[in-house]
């Protein structure tokens, strides 16, 4: 077995090189590397580094998202191989996310969604202007670990509270971690409505989500 350069794989994620990463991952598989190690020591390490750099303000958001894209491209190649070898990736978590009803702001939510995916979360994005009931229905159907609610207006953040209250009333509250975000949300409000987590930006959202699932 040839020695696989995991560092190189990480670097391709960091550089956001979606094309090169595909062939590099294929080569690594052909060289007989353990697909789980390719993820762990290569791709995932790369995306973590990108996230850290972004957190420190060293790189632009576009570089972070390109890293996320490269990660995704690599995973698309590796996933079938993992299945073939009947192995299983460590589950990161599942997320149902959307912008609450009455609100159509989606840029922030889309960025959060992209980063969650890049970090290996299984994300279902319900879109914008999502009625409260739809969140509840999807929760029952998909049983995600995390429910993400985005709201940017003072007139719509109240939906975040309503949804949490419905969860309490229907006995679902302790089945899911509720994360809220968006421009009009702040720490005080999060405490007031009893959400589990809040993040000011997409990168922090991922860190927070991982914390919540520990």
């Amino acid at each position: 077995m040839m020695s696989v350069n995991f560092e190189e794989l990480s670097k391709l994620v960091i550089d956001g090189d979606t094309d090169a990463i595909k062939s590099a991952v294929k080569n690594a598989i052909n060289d007989g590397a353990d697909p789980l190690e390719i993820v762990d020591k290569g791709l995932a390490k790369g995306i973590r580094t990108v996230g850290e750099k972004y957190g420190k303000g060293e790189i632009f958001l576009t570089e972070l998202l390109m890293g996320a894209e490269a990660m995704k491209a690599g995973m698309e190649i590796i996933n079938p191989e993992i299945q073939k070898q009947k192995k299983e990736l460590k589950k990161v978590g599942t997320v149902v996310i959307g912008t609450v009803s009455g609100d159509i702001h989606d840029l922030g939510k889309n960025i959060v969604t992209a980063l969650f995916s890049a970090h290996g979360f299984d994300v279902t994005d319900l879109g914008v202007d999502v009625p409260n009931e739809k969140f509840i229905d999807k929760l029952k159907e998909l049983k995600p670990d995390i429910l993400g609610l985005s709201a940017l207006m003072t007139s719509t953040i109240t939906k975040q509270r309503d949804i949490i209250n419905t969860l309490k009333e229907t006995g679902l509250r302790d089945k899911v971690k509720v994360m809220v975000g968006g421009a009009a949300v702040n720490e005080d409000f999060v405490r007031e409505i009893g959400a589990d987590g809040y993040a000011e930006n997409a990168n922090d959202a991922v860190i927070k989500a991982k914390d919540l699932l520990k």
């Binding site: 972004y54 303000g57 790189i59 632009f60 958001l61 576009t62 009455g102 159509i104 840029l107 922030g108 960025i111 207006m153 003072t154 007139s155 719509t156 109240t158 421009a183 009009a184 930006n201 997409a202």
Partner: protein, 476 residues
């Protein structure tokens, strides 16, 4: 000559215009409202099964020409009407959902919205008032409450948001109550219908509804393309303008189809350059000013009024706040944006700061002097005075009497800033601009009495709000 700042040559303007038309023809614009789709189809616009309308450039040019060159924003008091044209500049208050108090920001209340309107009613340089979002009222009804707050506390024209179809219908009723009925409203359409496209290239159901419901009264339509630059439009200013212009033009075309000759404002001045590191939508960035100025040049090309935003991302009334406001204000002011929003606004578009409004009034005073330009006539050249004063004299004596009439117009004065010597400044208490502005705010809020709104009108508004409340509760 009055200076007009231009960022584009006529060739470049044409390039951008043409790219906007290409976008509307090749990519198209999605209209989420089925009714709007039908309206467009009726005049021959091609609309596909996904609701994407592709416009021929001829059609766009034909309809854009129908929009009038001048738009009047009407106030409760007709003397306060604002005439928007693309060769003069009016100023408007800012908006927000927090109220800044020193280093802190707290959630805005209905009472704050009333006070904000009252303050803007008293401050001379505010031509147009903007709501702040009260957070202590039922969330579905904040638009109606804010409307009432402004109607009661200012006689100047004002704008609030309409959060739903019921919201816009109620606000039309409220506006009609003020002017004495729907027929009167058609003649004096106070209020306006403002909506932005969802970049890139979508007109939402709600936007179409607001435009449609307000059209019969000829209420001015404020049609905006306001992308997050780098996020919902490409990071270059040129592309941002081409795209947001396409968005706004298609909105104006839609408005002209539903009501030929409806007054429309082409606003490309509210874009938010994204901070590519923190991901925040900025406003005090000079790039906002440049986009607004470019947008205004495009609006002038079409003969339409435009708008802009003087803004800051600073959290406090500090040096950053001052310079960002001045820069993001003066750039579009020199480009002759018809209406510059943002007086008193801070912290992106999140907060208002009452004392900042007073400071901004001073900045606006200074800007007005700049845009007045330099008048060159035989009289202002004052050759005779120079001859009379002669070599080594001064121009403060009766010999220069005929130049004195220009003092008011040519010089500037401060209202809260300080231009005195240190001694005199200390004698007067050594106060900084913020302290003086704060005192002025307190004085206005305790002494200013806006022209009261008729009791019956208030009663009517309360009834409208009561009914809306019942409707909302019934839905729950």
């Amino acid at each position: 000559m009055r200076p007009v700042l231009e960022f584009f040559s006529s060739d470049e303007i044409y390039e951008i215009h043409q790219t906007s038309l290409d976008i509307l023809e090749r990519v198209g614009m999605k209209f989420e409202s089925l009714e709007a789709q039908q309206t467009l189809k009726n005049v021959g616009v091609e609309v596909d099964s996904k609701g994407v309308a592709r416009f021929h450039s001829d059609l766009v040019e034909e309809y854009i020409k129908m929009a009038p060159r001048s738009v009047v924003l009407r106030g409760r008091d007709p003397k306060k009407d604002v005439y928007l044209r693309n060769d003069r500049v009016a100023f408007a208050a800012g908006t927000g959902m927090y109220v800044i108090d020193g280093n802190k920001a707290r959630k805005a209340t209905y009472q704050d919205c009333c006070n904000w309107a009252k303050l803007t009613d008293a401050v001379k340089n505010v031509d147009f008032t903007c709501e702040i979002h009260s957070t202590d009222m039922p969330s579905e009804l904040t638009d109606r409450y804010n409307f009432k707050a402004m109607a009661m506390n200012t006689t100047k024209p004002f704008v609030g948001s309409a959060l739903s179809k019921d919201g816009v219908l109620d606000e039309i009723e409220m506006a009609a109550a003020i002017v004495g009925g729907k027929e009167e409203l058609r003649k004096r359409p106070i209020w306006w219908a403002g909506y932005a496209a969802i970049s890139p290239l979508i007109w939402s159901e709600n936007a179409c509804t607001v435009f449609k419901e307000t059209a019969p009264y000829n209420i001015p339509a404020f049609v905006e393309g306001e992308s997050v630059v780098g996020g919902t439009s490409a990071v270059t200013v040129a592309s941002t303008l081409a795209q947001t212009n396409a968005e706004a033009l298609s909105g104006i075309v839609y408005n002209q189809i539903i009501k030929k000759g409806r007054p429309c404002i082409l606003n490309l001045g509210f874009t938010h350059p994204m901070d590519m590191k923190t991901c925040l939508a900025l406003h005090g960035n000079v790039v906002s000013g440049i986009v607004a100025a470019g947008g205004n040049q495009l609006a002038r090309f079409y003969g339409l009024p435009s708008a802009a935003w003087m803004a800051t991302d600073s959290k406090v009334s500090d040096a950053q706040c001052g310079y960002e406001k001045a820069l993001t204000g003066i750039i579009p002011a020199l480009a002759r944006s018809s209406l510059i929003f943002g007086m008193g606004q801070a912290e992106f578009t999140f907060a208002v700061d009452f004392e900042k409004l007073i400071i901004d009034e001073e900045i606006v005073n200074q800007m007005k002097r700049v845009i007045d330009g330099i008048e060159v006539t035989e009289e202002t050249l004052c050759l005779e005075a120079i001859e009379r004063v002669g070599i080594g004299g001064n121009f403060l004596t009766p010999k220069a009497r005929d130049t004195f009439k220009f003092i008011q117009k040519e010089t500037t004065e401060l209202t809260v800033g300080d231009r005195n010597t240190r001694e005199k400044w200390l004698e007067a208490g050594g106060k900084d601009i913020g302290q003086k502005a704060r005192e002025k705010v307190n004085e206005i809020l305790t002494t200013h009495e806006p022209e009261p709104l008729d009791k019956d009108i208030i009663k009517k508004m309360d009834e409208i709000i009561e009914n809306a409340k019942k409707k909302v509760e019934a839905k729950k």
